[in-house]
Subunit: 210 residues, 2 copies
């Protein structure tokens, strides 16, 4: 029997106009769900912010859940792209500091409000949408993988001692980052985030050669 591969989309032609509308919807939803939270964002909010109509929402997404999943995918792609740019050439301790500085500076712009774009989605969706949870877990893993790869390069180049464990250190950095985001968001003050990252970096520093 000649059939489409298992995972094929329900197959629907998309004109450029349709694609752009879809992108506009997702983009608006990404932003709204970041600042208001997923559950507090209504489809009408999205409709208004994206300048579309109800039929367009339901033309592109079966229901709100599907839109939320598109938001998770889009946000994951955004964050990973940004982090890839920041981390793919990481190979020195100074590079790690630059990474930290960029994150802190970016978060300072809004005084810590809204937290991490991925972390806030994770906190809200992990126990509510299993599919979203898995996607987010994968995104975190990739993000952490970028860090681990950088640390591995530092180890191979002799910047870090042989007993440094890049995977564990990357986990520690991610946790410090996410915890820092949350504390900063709650305090409306980026200081705890800055401190958390500094301590995590200090710990990495303790594995430096020299």
């Amino acid at each position: 029997m000649v059939s489409r591969p298992e995972n094929a989309q329900p197959e629907r032609r998309l004109t450029p106009r349709g694609a752009s509308t879809r992108a506009r919807i997702v983009s608006a939803a990404v932003e709204l769900m970041y600042v208001k939270g997923v559950n507090a964002t209504t489809l009408d909010d999205v409709r208004a912010a994206s300048n579309t109509s109800k039929s367009q929402l339901y033309n592109h997404f079966a229901d709100k859940e599907e839109l939320v999943r598109a938001v998770v995918a889009e946000r994951s792609a955004q964050v990973l792209e940004r982090e890839r740019a920041n981390l793919e050439r990481l190979k020195s301790f100074r590079g790690l500091i630059r990474w930290r500085d960029a994150l802190v500076r970016r978060n300072a712009l809004q005084n810590g409000a809204y937290g991490c774009a991925l972390g806030s989605l994770a906190g809200e969706l992990a126990d509510q949408d299993e599919q979203a949870r898995v996607t987010l877990a994968e995104s975190f893993a990739q993000w952490q993988g970028l860090l681990a790869a950088g640390l591995r390069r530092m180890k191979e180049n002799g910047v870090l001692r042989p007993d440094a464990d890049p995977e564990r250190l990357a986990t520690g950095l991610m946790a410090a980052l996410q915890g820092g985001y949350l504390l900063a968001e709650t305090a409306h003050d980026i200081e705890p985030m800055a401190v958390a990252l500094d301590l995590a970096l200090d710990h990495v520093k303790s594995f430096l050669t020299t």
Copy 2:
């Protein structure tokens, strides 16, 4: 003019029965909002779980927001009481390890699901209810204060070197804890939480005398 002090409650007599009903409502709401999230918990969920009726909910709380605030207060009190018991006599590195173990073990019971009782509230409410945010920020500060006090005792007793900064270390431990909770919740695996805390403890260890 003879009046009540500024911050007096709207003053309402509470029979023991009424008090018990109120407590039952808050208790049910605390649990539901932890596992389902605040926004995903409806008043009807609370009503059913607490075996009460609509009129009782609105007899004790003006609206959902007020109930949420009671939940935040109750949860804060619970967590702080527990942590006070675990931390008020902290004065050795082994004590810190016991603290870590207790948290990891507790979180392992649910495979990391639902995250930190306070952290998950913070993530959902910080940018949605300013009053709740402030309460949560204070609770985090107190929690962190318990850690800092313990570290200070360790320093005074010569367990930690003079150059150890208890406040900063406490911030680092809290961030590692919260970040660990979030990663564990997302991965449905407590490993990252365990690792994050271990690395943070390693960092504290680097300030040990001997």
